[in-house]
């Protein structure tokens, strides 16, 4: 809200800015009189009202100058954006961006080397695992929101379907992690179709409301259907994935991971192993989604996002295209859910609340809709930033919110807003863009 208002007011004259800041200062003064200016002090059994005018003056001053600085910042970024747009319009020809590829390669190398670099530091590896879960969820939701342009506020439902599929199949029927993975993915895809079918005609806000409702339905079923899902108590002691049949546990009768490789048993082995499992899953997701994007179905997703009517006029079955986006997005969410259940060993409906959906959506929007690399940066930011803020305890969410607002003012299209074409041909005029 404030970012939106601020953007509108970007580029005002100095007098207007002063007037605006004065108005905000006046509001601060009015609000501040009862909240800061007056205070009650306990004096010998009775409460006495005291005044704190200097504090109030400081507060109003901070608000006044803060508003001026905010105005200046927003105007500054707005101008820069306009300049960039002008430059972009001049060089409308799509350019290669080699540094983005390099950045991706560096990020991958870092991800592979991370457990070695931070060996023994369980905290870092745990955080990195969480980041990768969100990266995977972001990539999955990116298919639905970023590519197909279908706003989905209930994505966490598919995450839950995946997690509960593994939780139930493993505790009731003794299924292992790797067998459950495809089955749970299929289950989630089925639920994706179930959600997709009734929402085919909806768009924008209406679609968002229905998907939001769907996410809540799944959660409420999990809470209330105690016989099936364990209700609010969730599912306990879900088996952890093994390394090709070798368990991660202290040496016993059966060969374990540590005894097989003649290592000293350490609880960190499993943490590192899980990290690599999610890294591999995430990379597979990446390869899968990037390849799909270059296939006819991926191009059709983007075409449906751009113009549904034009798609119909070209003979594209929009129903099928949308349903495939829902199913594939849901399937990837399901995979992430299976991993989540296997990592935690315990799941309950509390892990699948709306705020999770909102976080995943924020990752996609912040990263830049449709951008794979953007999702990585956004997931990193959204998971690591609150962690870094732990030292500031009370102000953590405040700082987090401020950072979000600043980033969206700075890059309204997301961190990596540029769209990479899926197919290119050599043309004579690629370099010779008309100035």
């Amino acid at each position: 809200m404030s970012a939106h208002a601020a953007q509108q007011s970007a580029g005002m004259a100095l007098a207007d800015k002063l007037k605006d800041a004065l108005r905000i200062g006046l509001v601060a003064l009015l609000l501040g009189i009862p909240m800061l200016g007056l205070t009650t002090v306990d004096q010998g059994g009775g409460l006495q009202v005291m005044t704190r005018w200097p504090l109030l003056a400081q507060f109003v001053g901070v608000v006044f100058f803060g508003r001026l600085i905010l105005q200046w910042l927003v105007g500054h970024f707005h101008l820069r954006k306009l300049q960039r747009q002008r430059v972009a319009a001049k060089t409308a020809v799509v350019q290669e961006r080699p540094w983005l590829k390099w950045l991706g390669a560096v990020a991958l190398a870092f991800a592979v080397a991370l457990p070695v670099a931070f060996s023994g530091n369980r905290y870092v590896i745990d955080i990195a695992t969480t980041v990768l879960i969100y990266v995977m969820l972001g990539w999955g939701l990116n298919v639905v929101v970023g590519l197909a342009g279908l706003l989905d506020l209930g994505y966490v439902a598919f995450y839950a379907v995946g997690a509960y599929s593994y939780g139930l199949l493993s505790t009731l029927f003794g299924w292992g992690f790797w067998e459950t993975l495809p089955v749970a993915g299929g289950m989630a895809a089925l639920f994706g179709l179930l959600l997709g079918w009734p929402t085919l005609r909806l768009r924008g806000d209406y679609l968002a409301i229905v998907t939001l409702g769907f996410g809540e339905i799944i959660r409420i079923i999990l809470v209330n259907w105690t016989d099936f899902s364990g209700g609010p108590n969730g599912i306990n002691s879900i088996p952890r994935p093994s390394f090709f049949g070798l368990e991660f546990k202290p040496p016993g009768d059966t060969p374990t991971f540590a005894s097989f490789f003649h290592l000293e048993y350490s609880a960190d082995h499993r943490v590192v192993f899980l990290y690599y499992v999610i890294l591999v899953l995430a990379l597979l997701t990446h390869v899968f989604v990037s390849r799909l994007r270059r296939l006819p179905v991926g191009m059709a997703w983007e075409a449906v996002r751009e113009d549904e009517l034009a798609c119909k006029a070209l003979g594209i079955n929009v129903t099928g295209v949308k349903l495939s986006a829902y199913a594939i997005g849901a399937m990837l969410g399901g995979f992430a859910g299976v991993f989540f259940a296997a990592r935690q060993g315990f799941i309950s409906p509390e892990s699948f609340v709306f705020s999770e959906s909102a976080t995943i959506l924020a990752i996609v929007v912040l990263g830049g809709r449709g951008s794979q690399l953007g999702v990585v940066f956004a997931a990193l930011l959204l998971v690591v930033l609150p962690e870094l803020g732990r030292d500031f305890s009370d102000y953590r969410m405040l700082l987090f919110g401020a950072a979000m607002v600043l980033i969206m003012v700075w890059r309204p299209g997301g961190l990596v807003a540029r769209r990479e074409p899926t197919i290119q041909i050599e043309t004579a005029a690629v370099q010779g863009a008309t100035p």
Binding site: V93, L295, P296, D307, G315, Q424, T427
Partner: protein
């Protein structure tokens, strides 16, 4: 003996509540010829296109396509996307509808979705990069580049379509429609906003498509330079009625048409 036309419109009526946008319209569109629909604003031309291409379901009447392979198809019974896919009737829009953030080439590749999707076998062959899919993709690319070259767009192939000028976007939309391999191409005001040179090129293209490729072309157009030069037959609509039909010469002399375009004689006298 007259050949069966490509498309037959029989007693087409379209009502929106109390408003009758099209009233008992019948028309035959032959292959290899250019048929123009003209008429003042609000005459029902675009409504006619919408009925034809499955965007509206007509209240009364039928649109019958005589497809060389699939036989007789009743277009108003088909789903919108099947009109293009199955019957080969592809349209462009009065207000251009490209995929603006996708490149020109991608726009043309999306148009070949059905062929490519079939070749990719539910994306499996595509994911694995099998030879059959790769070949289909090469062919699609070749078709796209052929049309881009023919329409002078090849230099712009890698540019986002939304960044290009109005006239260029019009040409892209035609190129994209051609990539669907239509039997009948329905163009809704393709010359709107084009400069004289561009519209001369459009004339030439329309003649080329109908004569060389044998495509049926149905044209809605206000620019009489285009209509009178390329049309084989013209149908004039006014308030949803067909008021005249014939060759360009016949239409230019038709008293009903003159009345519809220039008004009643009394008004002319009064203003004179």
């Amino acid at each position: 003996m007259i050949d069966t036309p490509l498309l037959e419109v029989n007693h087409l009526t379209m009502r929106f509540g109390g408003l009758t946008a099209l009233d008992d319209l019948s028309l035959a569109v032959p292959a290899g010829k250019v048929t123009s629909i003209i008429g003042p604003n609000g005459a029902g031309k675009t409504t006619f296109f919408n009925c034809l291409t499955g965007f509206y379901k007509p209240t009364v009447g039928d649109v019958v396509m005589h497809h060389p392979q699939h036989g007789k198809l009743i277009l108003n019974h088909l789903a919108t996307h099947r009109v293009a896919r199955h019957a080969g009737v592809v349209r462009t829009f009065q207000n251009i509808r490209l995929f603006p953030s996708m490149t020109v080439l991608e726009n043309l590749m999306v148009a070949q979705y059905n062929t490519l999707q079939h070749a990719s076998r539910f994306s499996l062959a595509g994911l694995l990069g099998l030879a059959g899919y790769r070949q289909a993709k090469e062919e699609a690319l070749a078709k796209a580049t052929t049309w881009l070259e023919r329409l002078g767009l090849i230099d712009r192939a890698n540019v986002a379509a939304g960044n290009l000028s109005y006239g260029t976007q019009r040409r892209i939309e035609i190129a994209r429609a051609l990539c669907v391999d239509p039997l009948l191409l329905c163009l809704d005001e393709p010359a709107a906003g084009l400069n004289p040179r561009e519209s001369a090129e459009l004339n030439e293209l329309l003649l080329y498509l109908s004569r060389e490729h044998g495509k049926g072309i149905l044209l809605i157009e206000h620019d009489m330079n285009v209509v009178m030069r390329v049309s084989d037959q013209i149908c004039v609509l006014n308030f949803g009625h067909k008021i005249a039909e014939g060759t360009p010469q016949e239409i230019q002399q038709d008293p009903n048409v003159i009345k519809a375009y220039l008004g009643e004689e009394e008004i002319e006298e009064a203003s004179a």
